[in-house]
C-alpha cells in the first residue's frame, strides 16, 4: 500500500502545479479554483464521530482507543460530556475551548487555551453544569500517532431524552461525520429515541460501526447484542448481517493500558474492534480525502484543454468561426449579467418558495404544539394527581420536550431537503446545468477538418468517450460546478438549521460566514428547547421542593412551556429561513460571477490567438504544445487517482442506501389496547 503521507504531499504538489499551469496559460478563474481546491484538500480531515445515549460509554471508548496516559475525555458515572470535543493531531499538545459570548447584540466565538487537566471544567456536567459557560467546542491537539493521517475523533454529548440541547448539538455535527461509532451498551437495550437518532444520522453518513460497550458487566451480553442488532436493522431497513455489533469493554482496555495485562486486553476485545475500525477507515480514506479533490481539479484542467483544442480545430479548419465563437461566448456573459440585473424572475420565484416554506413551518410548529398539548392531556388523564409528584412531572416534562425536539429535527430536515430541491429547480430553469462554453461551441455549426485523435493521439480514452456526440470537443463537464453550488448550499442550510456556528467555522466555512451564522444559529441550537425552561422550570422547582401544586398549576406551567417553545421556535425558524434565502441568492450570484470570469478567460485566450500576427502554422504549433502540456498534466491526475483507488482494499457497500422510512410512533405512551371500529369512510 502506498504511504499516505507521500501520497498526500504528491497530490498537493500536483495541485500547485495545476494552478501554476492554468495561470501560465491565461486561465485565471481555473487557477483560482484549483488553488482553493488545494487548500480544502490540505485541510480535509476524516471525522470519526461517536454518538449514542448518555452514559453508554462513548468518552471511555475514545479514551481506550487513543490510549493516552492521561485520559482526555472526562468520564463520569452521572451525565458527563456536554459539549462537542474534537481531537486531532498536533506536534505539540494544545487544548482550546471555544465559548460563545454576546457582544454588541450578536454572539461571537471566543477561543481560550487551557491545560489538559482543566478540560472537565468546561465540557463536563460536573465542571460546567447545564453548560452555563456557553462552551460550544473543545479543540484538542495531541501528538498521538493514531491521528497523524488526518483522522479526527469527535466526542459528543449523549442524545438521551433528558437533555434535548445535547441531541441538537450532536445532530448538528452529524453531516460532517465520515464514520459514525454508534455506541450501545450491554446493560440495557436500545431505546426508541436512540434509534430515531441513528436513523437521522444515517441519512448523512452511511458508514457506521456499532460498538457495544460494558461487555464486562453482563455475562449474558449476547442477548442484548442480538436484540440491538435486530432493532437497528429494522430501523435502518437493512439486513441483520449488515449490522455488526462489536462487544467491547472499555474498562478492560484501560486496565490493559495501565497494567499491560494480556488477559485484560483479550477480554476487552479491543484488538478486534480496532482492526475493524481502522480497516473501515482505510477503505474510506481515499474516497473521502482524495477523490473529490482530484476530480475537481481534473474537471478544471479538462475545460482548459477543451478551449485550447477547440481553438486549434477552428484555426485549422475555419478561422472566421473563431470570431463567431467569441460572439457566442459574449452572449453567454450577457445572459449571466441579465440574471443579475434585469431578468430577476428567478429571485422572485425563490422568494415565493421560501414564503411557502415559511408558512409550512408555522403550520408544522403549531402541529408540534398540538401534539405536545395532546400528549400532556393524555398524561394528565392517565396519571391524575400523580402528575404533581416530582418524578412523574419531570418524566412528562421530558416526554413533551422529546416530542417537540423530534418534530423540530424533522422540520429542519424538511427545510434542508426543500432548499436543495429549490436550488436544483432554479439551476435547471436558468440553464446553469449546461456548461456555457459548451453551449457557445454547439451554436457554431462547425465540423472540424481533422479528427482530434490524429492531432492529439495521447488524449485519454475517457475524454474521447465524453466527447462523442458533441460536434466539437467541449463536453458536459459543467455538472461539477452545479454540484458545488448545491453541495455548498447544503452545507449552508445545515449550518443554519443544524449546527452551531463555531463548528461550521471549524469545518472550513469562512470566518465571515461563521460570524454571520453565529448571529442566528446560536439561538437556533442548544438553547432552542432545553434552554428556555421558563414557567415549566419554575414549576419543576416548586414540585421538587414539595410546595403545593395541583393539576391546574401543572397544566398551566406545561402548556405555557409548550406555547413559549412554539413561539420562540417559530421566530427562530423564520429568521433562519430569511438567512437561508439570502444565502441561496448569494450563492447564485457568486456562481454567475464565477461563470462570467471563466467565459472572459476563454474569450481572452481566443482573442490572443486571433489577434496575434504570427503565421497560422506557428500559432497551431503553440496551441498544440499547450494542449499537450495540459494533457500530460491530466495523465498525472489520473495516475494519482489510480494510486488512491488502490487504497481502497475493501469493497464499497452499496446496500447502505438511504432509508426514509416512517419514524415509528413514540413508545412513550403505550396506547390502551382497544378494538377499533372499521368505517367505510375512515
Amino acid at each position: 500500500m502506498p504511504d499516505l503521507f507521500v501520497l498526500k504531499k504528491d497530490t498537493a504538489e500536483c495541485f500547485q502545479e495545476g494552478a501554476a499551469l492554468a495561470r501560465r496559460l491565461g486561465f485565471n478563474a481555473a487557477a483560482k479554483t484549483i488553488a482553493e481546491t488545494e487548500k480544502d484538500f490540505l485541510e480535509k480531515k476524516l471525522m470519526v464521530v461517536t454518538v449514542g445515549e448518555m452514559k453508554r460509554g462513548k468518552s471511555s471508548m475514545l479514551n481506550a482507543l487513543l490510549g493516552e496516559k492521561e485520559q482526555i475525555f472526562p468520564v463520569n458515572a452521572s451525565v458527563a460530556t456536554n459539549a462537542i470535543t474534537i481531537v486531532r493531531y498536533g506536534e505539540e499538545e494544545k487544548v482550546e475551548v471555544v465559548t460563545e459570548e454576546r457582544k454588541k447584540g450578536i454572539m461571537l466565538p471566543t477561543t481560550k487555551t487551557i491545560h489538559r487537566t482543566e478540560i472537565p471544567n468546561y465540557v463536563s456536567e460536573q465542571g460546567n453544569p447545564s453548560n452555563f459557560k456557553n462552551v460550544r467546542l473543545l479543540k484538542v491537539e495531541i501528538p498521538n500517532p493514531l491521528l497523524k493521517e488526518g483522522i479526527v475523533f469527535v466526542d459528543t454529548p449523549g442524545v438521551g431524552s433528558l437533555n434535548i440541547s445535547h441531541a441538537e448539538t450532536t445532530y448538528g455535527f452529524l453531516p460532517n461525520a465520515d464514520l459514525l461509532l454508534f455506541v450501545s451498551d450491554a446493560s440495557s437495550g436500545l431505546t426508541e429515541t436512540e434509534l430515531n437518532f441513528l436513523k437521522r444520522g444515517y441519512k448523512y453518513c452511511k458508514n457506521v460501526l456499532f460498538p457495544l460497550t460494558k461487555k464486562d458487566t453482563n455475562p449474558r451480553y449476547k442477548e442484548i447484542m442480538e436484540d440491538n442488532q435486530y432493532k437497528i436493522s429494522a430501523a435502518l431497513g437493512i439486513s441483520i448481517d449488515e449490522v455488526t455489533l462489536i462487544p467491547i469493554s472499555n474498562t478492560a482496555k484501560i486496565r490493559y493500558l495501565e497494567t499491560q495485562s494480556k488477559a485484560a486486553l483479550a477480554s476487552s476485545n479491543f484488538p478486534e474492534f480496532e482492526r475493524l475500525m481502522w480497516s473501515t477507515i482505510a477503505a474510506k480514506r481515499g474516497e473521502i480525502m482524495f477523490l473529490p479533490f482530484l476530480e475537481q481539479v481534473r474537471q478544471e484542467t479538462f475545460k482548459i484543454d477543451e478551449n485550447i483544442v477547440a481553438q486549434y480545430q477552428l484555426l485549422e479548419s475555419n478561422k472566421e468561426k473563431m470570431l463567431e465563437l467569441i460572439a457566442n461566448l459574449k452572449k453567454e456573459i450577457e445572459k449571466y449579467k441579465s440574471f443579475e440585473s434585469t431578468n430577476l424572475q428567478w429571485k422572485s420565484e425563490l422568494a415565493e418558495s421560501f414564503a411557502i416554506m415559511q408558512n409550512n413551518n408555522i403550520a408544522a410548529l403549531s402541529s408540534m404544539e398540538l401534539e405536545a398539548t395532546n400528549h400532556l392531556e393524555d398524561r394528565i388523564t392517565a396519571l391524575g394527581v400523580k402528575i404533581c409528584e416530582p418524578e412523574y412531572y419531570k418524566q412528562v416534562y421530558n416526554e413533551i420536550n422529546n416530542i417537540m425536539s423530534e418534530r423540530l429535527l424533522e422540520l429542519k430536515d424538511q427545510m434542508i431537503d426543500k432548499t436543495v430541491e429549490e436550488v436544483n429547480r432554479v439551476n435547471i430553469s436558468l440553464g446553469l446545468n449546461v456548461d456555457s462554453c459548451q453551449r457557445a461551441l454547439d451554436g457554431l455549426n462547425f465540423t472540424p477538418k481533422k479528427d482530434l485523435d490524429v492531432v492529439f493521439p495521447k488524449r485519454k480514452a475517457s475524454e474521447d468517450a465524453i466527447r462523442k456526440g458533441t460536434k466539437i470537443s467541449r463536453s458536459i463537464v459543467g455538472g461539477s460546478k452545479i454540484g458545488m453550488v448545491i453541495g455548498g448550499l447544503l452545507g449552508a442550510a445545515l449550518a443554519v438549521f443544524a449546527g452551531p456556528a463555531v463548528i461550521a467555522a471549524e469545518l472550513g466555512t469562512t470566518v465571515a460566514d461563521a460570524i454571520f451564522y453565529t448571529a442566528i444559529s446560536s439561538s437556533m441550537t442548544g438553547t432552542s428547547i432545553g434552554g428556555f425552561l421558563g414557567g415549566a422550570k419554575g414549576c419543576v422547582d416548586a414540585v421538587t421542593q414539595g410546595r403545593d401544586v395541583d393539576i391546574p398549576v401543572v397544566r398551566k406551567a406545561l402548556t405555557n412551556h409548550i406555547n413559549e417553545s412554539r413561539i420562540l421556535l417559530t421566530k427562530i425558524m423564520n429568521e433562519g429561513m430569511i438567512t437561508l434565502k439570502g444565502r441561496v441568492i448569494n450563492s447564485f450570484e457568486t456562481e454567475f460571477t464565477a461563470k462570467k470570469r471563466e467565459l472572459e478567460d476563454n474569450i481572452k485566450q481566443i482573442e490572443i490567438t486571433v489577434n496575434s500576427t504570427k503565421p497560422d502554422q506557428e500559432k497551431l504549433e503553440e496551441l498544440k504544445r499547450n494542449a499537450e502540456t495540459i494533457q500530460k498534466y491530466m495523465v498525472r491526475l489520473e495516475e494519482l487517482k489510480d494510486t488512491v483507488a488502490s487504497l481502497n482494499n475493501t469493497e464499497q457497500d452499496s446496500v447502505f442506501q438511504g432509508n426514509t422510512g416512517d419514524i415509528p410512533v413514540s413508545t412513550l405512551v403505550p396506547e390502551a389496547e382497544k378494538k377499533e371500529m372499521e368505517y367505510s369512510f375512515l
Binding site: S353, I356, N359, N360, I362, A363, A364, S366, S367, E369, L370, E371, T373, N374, V665, E671, K674, E676, M677, Y679, S680, F681, L682
Partner: protein, 174 residues
C-alpha cells in the same frame, strides 16, 4: 334548532389567528372530511377560491387544506398547499372549473333554503363524529350520502377526491 358542532369547529378555526396567517382571506372553506391520526380524530378542511359572477360564483380548484383536531379547533396538525404538490402540478388555477349553483340545487331558491340544507348535512357530520368517538357504527350514512351528493359541487369533486378518496367517494353517489 341546535347549531351543528361541525359548523362551529370550522367557524372557530376560520376565525383563528393561525388561519388568518396561513390561508388567503379570499378563500372559502369546503366540505370537510374526517381523519384519524395516532388514534385521534381530526378534520381536514379544504379551501378554494370563488369569484362572484352574474349567475352566482365561479369556482376555482382547491388550493390548500388544514387538518385540525376535532377537540381543539384553534390548533392545527397539518397545512398543505396543493399548488406545490407533485401530484397536483397539472391543475390549472387560472381558470374556473365550474359555477355555483350546480344543477342538483336547482330546486333550492333562496339563500336561507340553501343554508338550511347545509345545516342538515353538518348535523349528519356531527352524528358521524359522535359515532366514531364512541367507536359505534354510524347509522346515518345513507342520509348523509343523499345530502352530500346534492350539495357537493360536481366541478370541485375531483379535487376532493384527490384529498381523500375513501371519505368523499363514500358519500358522493352520482
Amino acid at each position: 334548532m341546535e347549531q351543528s358542532r361541525m359548523k362551529e369547529v370550522i367557524h372557530t378555526f376560520n376565525h383563528s389567528e393561525l388561519c388568518r396567517k396561513l390561508i388567503p382571506a379570499e378563500l372559502a372553506s369546503g366540505w370537510p372530511c374526517l381523519k384519524k391520526v395516532r388514534g385521534k380524530l381530526y378534520i381536514v378542511i379544504p379551501y378554494f377560491n370563488r369569484m362572484p359572477v352574474k349567475s352566482g360564483y365561479a369556482l376555482y380548484p382547491i388550493y390548500c387544506s388544514a387538518t385540525i383536531p376535532w377537540k381543539m379547533p384553534e390548533k392545527m396538525l397539518d397545512f398543505t398547499v396543493y399548488t406545490i404538490q407533485e401530484n397536483w402540478k397539472d391543475v390549472d388555477y387560472s381558470k374556473p372549473v365550474g359555477f355555483f349553483k350546480h344543477k342538483a340545487l336547482e330546486d333550492i331558491r333562496t339563500k336561507d333554503e340553501y343554508i338550511a340544507l347545509c345545516n342538515r348535512l353538518y348535523r349528519c357530520y356531527d352524528e358521524m363524529v359522535l359515532a366514531v368517538l364512541e367507536n359505534k357504527p354510524f347509522a346515518g350514512e345513507e342520509k348523509m350520502a343523499g345530502l352530500f351528493s346534492k350539495l357537493m359541487e360536481p366541478s370541485l369533486y375531483p379535487f376532493y377526491e384527490k384529498i381523500n378518496k375513501k371519505f368523499y367517494s363514500n358519500f358522493y353517489k352520482m
